[in-house]
Symmetry: C2
């Protein structure tokens, strides 16, 4: 849970970062950036700011702004009925992104959020810069973290059903709640 | 058919335009921009320069650079087996784009390429600027043209099988051929 003020500040800062990264967005889009604290109440440590360009039954394109060292919690995109699950390509626009997938390795450049060792289980690290991209098959556990200057990235995918994503951390709630009821 | 020199010049100019529009691409990507004259041999009138970020069996993301007044010929994305056909969202990054879909209307801001009236049958015009986007259902005939300053745009879609696209102009060949054999 975060305050409305925190939500609005994060939204404005994310829109500023997205534009500073060279991504042209409309005023209307700047006003609809989603701030996700994943129900953990510690936005700048674990959270993400997400602008959806569009999302149809077949394709979605979004821009994600991450504050310095902000981490999107470990998650995966499960099968939904006939859909094998979301396939996703992440492409970095600005900043440095530490990206984690299954496989041998350890967290070197990035860092697991304090006290959350059990919620970040995949440790195969990739350090990504502008223009780097990675495609994830459905069901692949992954998490990512911005470097010290923050990061802006694209996510291009099949149909996105974020509320059905699986998260390693049992405390995650995908829908952000505001503590002053708006 | 175009010459190798024309191809290389168009590729370099397209990479320059893409970067000038604020899109970060790698050197490798700059080197693999595809120049498409659609077999018409008149690249600057009818053609497109296309950079594929990625293309999987489910999703594709590309950047298209159009020179001033350059026109991508009228086409549509047909059903392919079980696939209902490519669904595509075009999003303008820089410049002005005149976009044509079925429906009442006429070509006002843009212009049909000289002598090609019969090859451009849909005339419902939309004038698009940076941040504007349009989603096309599979099978929808469409064509588009850059304004006087050229244009750079994204195309986000389901699986792209460009060589299977249908074109109104029977002279179109989707694969570009070089007249000096490279």
């Amino acid at each position: 849970m975060i305050t409305k003020l925190e939500y609005e500040r994060a939204k404005a800062e994310a829109a500023r970062m997205i534009r500073a990264a060279g991504v042209v967005i409309t005023e209307e889009e700047a006003g609809k950036v989603e701030v996700a604290d994943f129900g953990l109440g510690n936005l700048h440590a674990e959270g993400a700011q997400i602008l959806t360009f569009f999302c149809t039954e077949r394709v979605a394109a979004k821009v994600i702004a991450l504050f310095p060292r902000q981490t999107e919690p470990e998650h995966w995109h499960p099968r939904v009925g006939d859909d094998p699950g979301k396939e996703e390509t992440i492409r970095v626009i600005s900043g440095t992104l530490y990206f984690y997938v299954p496989g041998a390795g350890e967290v070197r450049a990035g860092s697991v959020p304090a006290g959350k060792e059990s919620c970040y289980t995949v440790r195969n690290e990739r350090v990504m810069g502008p223009g780097d991209q990675i495609t994830l098959e459905p069901g692949t556990r992954h998490w990512f973290q911005a470097g010290p200057e923050g990061a802006v990235l694209y996510t291009f995918s099949t149909c996105a059903r974020d509320v059905l994503d699986g998260f390693t951390d049992p405390n995650v709630e995908r829908q952000t709640r505001l503590d002053d009821g708006v």
